[in-house]
Symmetry: C2
Subunit: 390 residues, 2 copies
């Protein structure tokens, strides 16, 4: 009936990801970096035996959702409450600095314009692309290091969630300045409503799970129901409230994080995740890279773009963390943890393309930023965590 | 970027499948029957909130491949060798009887024709559709009953594998009689070559896994590599040798069934399977059913078709089993275990459609056969196994 091509794609991705993951570990690099490089190598960028098909990208999406759900499940509620305010400050600085530096970067390449001019708005948009953190790679790296539930880990994850909300508000603002998109107030209202509804419904859901848990501890129905809830929240967040699906999945995890059976749930989700979905997500980042449409005139801008994007997050988030009384080492970890970019940056870029703010040439720079940050952040985090464990 | 519809589809399927699975168990019916009915209810046949999308059918395919791989992994090699000859006899009878009765059924509805006539070949084709056992539902039912590695279980699974090979040979014969398709000898040669290559390469693969196992027992790389091997074999079987992908997956499982770490591998594959893929496969059977194109003039034929299809397998395989010195109860179990039909019947019907042997109206009958046999077989097996366990 239908082609079984997807089977061999999945098999190749899993095999390459695991192999390169093991090689990465032998070289004392994080496994997730090996998995991304595996995707880069088997994908169109190098040997091209696997394409980024629709099926693969959907599997990858489930992978990142599972990853963020697990991050939510392993959240320490106390730490989350303690770090909440600090995370907000870090998120704000982590959006502000990249937007300013991104605007300056764009205008120093393509000419300055007064505030409010088309040129200025275009610059602002380039900054907005830089502002969207995608924390999933950091989550994977911290998980590998066993530091996901640490104060630094909790701060980074919650700052990234808040970052997501700020960026969609800023994005709406920039798009409406260009005369397209909805009003900023609607966007803000929807974001606030999402969290309000998530919290209220979360109480009911938590009670329901607690009841299930008391009656049927360690039965399959609990992790399956939890996974359904996670996917439902991911869908609802993006579809009805304009919030990234991974944020919805994380919130679902936080709702269930105090469940008595949470370890059991996390273990079952984790097996499905590492056996199939997560490697597809990581390798998928590499698979997306293609040098086919590479534009050499943009090379210099792309390199500068990546450089500014990475540095601006480290400066913004790092100094905000330092002001929030983290020590130097932890501040740097937070800055580096926040510098990872992912699909949200691509989605943002896509919206700018539709609004006529950028041309498709800029996608090379965005993908390069995703790739470099995804590889660099886990490596740097591992280095920073090393002295303590040694 | 892309719609997240697939997320909510997966969540709905998992939730409905688990819920109806639990209800089925409360009613002392097998869980898998509940999962199929869940698909029927949420699918286009009843309330229609979930469609059988391309993504869902690919996930379902991975589900059935995992299921057959697990069946292979839990194979008892000794029993497989003991039952080999008997299984061959049962498979032959289980193809012969449905083909004869199917031909008679068709001709008694639409007029008799001499041997070799178009009418006769059409009848033969209707019989061939009936002949293709799909053992996955039986595997799931036996697994639920804890009888998958029993003598009856091993016999049914290996008979179904042989059945698959005989049916593709018969199908090629029928299609070539109609003047389309490849030669029977090529088909047979390819089937033999597949098993020859699988056995020879299997030794090498087994050695490689044994080496991995000795060095890295209980590490994730072993189940992941095993899953890759399974998907690779499934792909190769169908793509290059014309054998069903589930047969390839089962053979991959048998190759690894003597591995020291086999239980660990099976457990990891099992979690991924029951958390996501298997419920999608079972519910997917129900999802395929739609009464939209239902043709009332075919109703009577369809009912007769389903009736003959089920009975012919019970008679054919059951009496062959009795002749092979199984007792009455076990013979009946084997007959019922062999009566489940699945995708292979649909693929066969599809090929007949292309060759002009049947019209698309017959699909209703085929889907009805798949649905009824998938629901009936697990229920009857549970009833037959009950007196012993009570």
């Amino acid at each position: 009936m239908e082609s079984l091509r997807f089977l061999i794609d999945v098999a190749l991705i899993l095999f390459a990801a695991k192999t390169f993951g093991i090689i990465a570990r032998k070289l004392h690099a994080p496994e997730v970096v090996g998995e991304i490089i595996a995707g880069l190598i088997i994908g169109p960028a190098v040997i091209g035996i696997v394409d980024q098909s629709d099926f693969i990208s959907k599997m990858a999406e489930i992978g990142v959702i599972m990853l963020m759900f697990e991050a939510g499940l392993t959240t320490d509620m106390k730490k989350l409450k303690q770090t909440g305010l600090k995370a907000t400050a870090i998120a704000c600085a982590g959006v502000f600095v990249p937007i300013v530096l991104g605007t300056v970067l764009f205008m120093s390449f393509y000419g300055f314009g007064p505030i409010g001019s088309e040129q200025f708005i275009k610059g602002l948009f380039i900054g907005t692309i830089m502002a969207a953190t995608s924390v999933s790679i950091t989550v994977a790296a911290l998980k590998e290091l066993g530091k996901l539930s640490s104060t630094v880990g909790t701060t980074v994850v919650s700052a990234a969630i808040i970052d997501d909300v700020i960026v969609i508000v800023v994005l709406t603002f920039v798009l409406s300045a260009k005369g397209s998109g909805t009003s900023v107030w609607t966007t803000m209202l929807k974001a606030i409503m999402f969290f309000a509804i998530a919290i209220v419904s979360g109480f009911v859901v938590y009670k329901a799970f607690k009841w299930l848990d008391a009656r049927y501890e360690h039965t399959r129905r609990i992790p399956i129901a939890a996974l359904c809830y996670c996917m439902f929240m991911a869908y609802v967040a993006e579809r009805y409230f304009g919030i990234a699906d991974i944020t919805g999945a994380y919130v679902a995890g936080v709702v269930l994080c105090n469940l008595h059976d949470v370890k059991y749930v996390e273990r079952k989700v984790d097996v499905s995740s590492y056996m199939v979905f997560a490697p597809i997500f990581f390798a998928g980042i590499g698979l997306k890279v293609s040098f086919e449409n590479f534009n050499p005139t943009f090379l210099f801008f792309s390199i500068a773009f990546v450089f500014v994007a990475l540095l601006s997050k480290i400066i913004g988030c790092g100094s905000a963390a330092k002001l929030c009384k983290f020590n130097w080492n932890d501040s740097l970890k937070i800055g580096i943890g926040m510098m990872t970019r992912g699909e949200v940056a691509l989605i943002t870029a896509q919206k700018g393309l539709h609004a006529g703010l950028i041309t498709s040439d800029y996608f090379t720079a965005v993908i390069l930023m995703i790739l470099v940050s995804s590889i660099l952040a886990p490596v740097l985090l591992k280095v920073l965590y090393k002295p303590k464990s040694a």
